[in-house]
C-alpha cells in the first residue's frame, strides 16, 4: 500500500509513469470493486488521458504539482464538470455537473488524477452506506459488514487500496466514522477551512469536505492543497495558508490531552479496552491526560436531528424535477409533478429527514425545537471552549462499535447514535481526525479521534501523527490483498 507522498515521489523521481500508476489502480478497481461496490463511476478514459498529459509534462521538465501522479477518488456529492453527480440518488441519476467544485479544481491544479466517483448514503444521509439507490458498499475488513457512512465508498476504496486517497464529506461524522470502521485515516477540517462550493449541501452549517488516506502525512499534504480561501463560499476561512507537512512533526512532551471520561462512561467491551490502550500510548509519548467535562455531548444527537434535518429540508427543496434531475412522466399538473418526482426520486431515509426537518421548522415548532437546538449548540460550543482551556486537544473514540452487519441497523435511532462521538466537532466547527488504533478480536478496525479548537487543524494533525508513529501499522484487509 503506497501513500500519496510515496507515489508522488516515485513519479517525480521517474521510477514510474503516471499512466502506469493509474493503470495499476484501475486494474485493482476492475478486479475488486464489483464485490465492494465502492465506485459509482470510474474515469477509465479521463484518468488515462490526464495521466498521459502529466507524463508529457514530466518529459518536458515542467514543474509538477504537489499531488502529481496521485489518483484520487471523489465522493459522488462533489461536482466534477462534465461528469455525472448522482449523490447516490435516483433523483440525480442522470445529472451532469455543469461546473467543478473548488476542491476538484484545486486537486487537478496540483496534478492529481481524479479516478472516479464513489458510492455513499443518498445525499449523505446515513452512517452505513446502505442508503444508496445503487446498492450498499461493503467493508473490506468484513464483507458482511458496513464500512460506515455516509462516505462509504470513499472509505472502502482507500481501505481496499483501490486508490491511495479519496475525498469524503462530514456533516455528523461521515468521514471519521467510516475511516475508523475501515482502518484508515479520515480528517474533517475546521468549518470553513475547505470550500463547500460544489459540495451538494446537506447540513450547511455542519458540512465539510475532507480526505481519506493511509497516513496522517498524506492528510497534511491534502490539506496544503485544499485548505484555501474560496471566493464562491461566504463561509470560507480567510487565513494565511499553513505548511502542514513542514510543521507536522512535533513532540507530545508536556502537551495536554483532554478525555471526557464521564461522557464515555457507557463505553464497554473491546472498544473501551482499545481506547484505554490508546490513551496509555499517548501518555508514553509524554502527553499529560486530563479529565474534561463534555457531558453536554450527550445532547449532540438531539441537536443534530433537529438542525441537520431542518437545513437539509431546505437544501433538498431544489430537487423538484423542474430544472434538472428526475421528473415523473405521470404528472399532468404542477403539483403532482413535484410530488411524484420527489416521492419517487428520493429514497426512504432522505424523505424521512426532509419531513422531520419540515416539521422542525414549522411555525409552531420553531421556538421549542429549532431555536432551542441552536441555543444548546451555543452551550456546547462554550463547553468545548472551556475544555480547551485546560487541554490542547481532546481524545475520544471515533465510533461506539466496530463495523456492524450490513443489515444490522433496524432502528433509525441506532444509526444516529453511531455519530455520538463525532457530532461534537461538527456542532462546534472543530477540526477532528480519526486514526486507526488497532483491530478487534474479529479483525475489525478501531479508530481514535483527536479534536482541536477551531483553526487548530495543524495541532490535531500533530497529535495524530505522533500517535500513528507509536502504533504498528494496521494489517490491511484480506480482501483486495493481492497486488501492491
Amino acid at each position: 500500500m503506497k501513500t500519496a507522498i510515496e507515489i508522488r515521489q516515485n513519479f517525480v523521481d521517474g521510477k514510474i509513469s503516471a499512466v502506469e500508476i493509474v493503470t495499476q489502480y484501475l486494474e485493482r478497481i476492475k478486479k475488486y470493486d464489483s464485490e465492494l461496490n465502492a465506485f459509482l463511476a470510474v474515469f477509465n478514459e479521463r484518468a488515462l488521458e490526464k495521466a498521459k498529459a502529466l507524463d508529457a509534462k514530466r518529459e518536458k521538465g515542467e514543474p509538477l504539482g504537489k499531488l502529481a501522479g496521485v489518483p484520487i477518488a471523489i465522493k459522488d456529492n462533489i461536482l466534477i464538470e462534465g461528469q455525472l453527480c448522482t449523490c447516490a440518488s435516483k433523483m440525480l441519476e442522470n445529472y451532469k455537473a455543469p461546473y467543478s467544485a473548488t476542491v476538484a479544481r484545486l486537486l487537478e491544479e496540483e496534478d492529481a488524477i481524479l479516478i472516479g466517483k464513489t458510492n455513499m448514503d443518498e445525499f449523505a444521509m446515513g452512517g452505513s452506506g446502505t442508503h444508496s439507490a445503487f446498492g450498499p458498499t461493503k467493508n473490506p475488513y468484513d464483507l458482511t459488514c458496513s464500512p460506515g457512512g455516509s462516505s462509504s465508498g470513499s472509505a472502502a476504496a482507500v481501505s481496499a487500496d483501490l486508490c491511495p486517497i479519496a475525498l469524503g464529506s462530514d456533516t455528523g461524522g461521515s468521514i471519521r466514522q467510516p475511516a475508523a470502521l475501515t482502518g484508515i485515516v479520515g480528517f474533517k477540517p475546521t468549518y470553513g477551512r475547505v470550500s463547500r462550493y460544489g459540495l451538494v449541501a446537506f447540513g450547511s452549517s455542519l458540512d465539510q469536505i475532507g480526505p481519506f488516506t493511509h497516513s496522517v502525512k498524506d492528510v497534511a499534504l491534502m490539506m496544503e492543497v485544499l485548505g484555501k480561501h474560496c471566493e464562491h463560499d461566504s463561509t470560507s476561512l480567510n487565513t494565511t495558508p499553513i505548511r502542514y507537512l513542514e510543521e507536522i512533526e512535533s513532540s507530545l512532551e508536556g502537551k495536554r490531552i483532554g478525555v471526557p471520561w464521564h461522557f464515555l462512561e457507557e463505553l464497554n467491551g473491546e472498544v473501551k479496552d482499545n481506547f484505554e490502550e490508546s490513551i496509555e500510548k499517548l501518555k508514553s509519548l509524554g502527553a499529560e491526560v486530563i479529565d474534561v467535562d463534555l457531558d453536554i455531548l450527550k445532547y449532540g444527537v438531539s441537536i443534530y436531528y433537529i438542525l441537520s434535518t431542518a437545513e437539509a429540508s431546505t437544501n433538498l427543496a431544489r430537487f423538484d424535477g423542474i430544472r434538472y434531475g428526475y421528473r415523473t412522466k405521470k404528472a399532468e399538473n404542477l403539483e403532482s409533478t413535484y410530488r411524484l418526482s420527489r416521492s419517487k426520486g428520493f429514497g426512504w431515509e432522505v424523505k424521512n429527514r426532509i419531513l422531520l426537518g419540515t416539521s422542525v421548522l414549522s411555525s409552531s415548532s420553531y421556538e421549542e425545537l429549532f431555536a432551542k437546538a441552536q441555543k444548546v449548540r451555543t452551550l456546547l460550543i462554550h463547553k468545548m471552549r472551556e475544555a480547551f482551556g485546560k487541554c490542547d486537544c481532546i481524545a475520544i473514540p471515533t465510533a461506539p462499535s466496530t463495523a456492524f452487519a450490513l443489515d444490522g441497523m433496524k432502528d433509525p435511532l441506532e444509526e444516529y447514535l453511531q455519530d455520538l462521538y463525532t457530532i461534537g466537532a461538527n456542532m462546534a466547527g472543530l477540526p477532528a481526525i480519526s486514526v486507526p488504533s488497532g483491530l478487534s478480536a474479529k479483525g475489525k478496525p478501531f479508530g481514535i479521534q483527536f479534536m482541536g479548537p477551531q483553526t487548530h487543524d495543524l495541532e490535531v494533525m500533530r497529535f495524530a501523527y505522533a500517535f500513528e508513529s507509536k502504533c504498528p501499522p494496521l494489517s490491511p484487509p484480506q480482501f483486495g490483498a493481492g497486488n501492491d
Binding site: P98, R342, S365
Partner: protein
C-alpha cells in the same frame, strides 16, 4: 393548526411536496414519536439567556462580492440537464396564477 396536525405526515408532505406510501407513512408515524422524544431531550437543558448559534464562525462577517458581471452558465449546458424545455425556457405543466 394544532401541534398534532402539524406533525402529521400528510401535512408535512404537502409542505415538502412528498407523498409517502401507506407503508412508509406507517413507519414514519411510528418512528416519529421516538424521534420527537429524542429531540425533546433538549427540554431539560437550561438555555435561559443563551443566544442561538446561527453561525459557527463567529468572527466572519461582511463577506460580499464586487458588483461585477462574472461567471455565467451557458444556455445550452443549462438546458441539457432539463427534463423538458421549449423556446429556450424550462417547460412545466400549466400553472395557476399564483405568488
Amino acid at each position: 393548526m394544532s401541534l398534532e396536525e402539524e406533525k402529521n405526515s400528510k401535512y408535512l408532505g404537502s409542505l415538502a411536496r412528498i407523498e409517502l406510501s401507506e407503508d412508509e407513512e406507517k413507519t414514519f408515524n411510528q418512528n416519529l414519536e421516538k424521534i420527537l422524544g429524542y429531540m425533546h431531550l433538549l427540554d431539560e437543558v437550561d438555555t435561559q439567556g443563551t443566544l442561538p448559534c446561527t453561525h459557527v464562525l463567529e468572527t466572519t462577517t461582511n463577506v460580499m462580492g464586487e458588483d461585477e458581471v462574472g461567471e455565467h452558465l451557458d444556455h445550452e449546458t443549462f438546458l441539457k440537464n432539463a427534463p423538458d424545455s421549449v423556446g429556450g425556457m424550462i417547460k412545466v405543466p400549466p400553472v395557476m396564477q399564483a405568488e
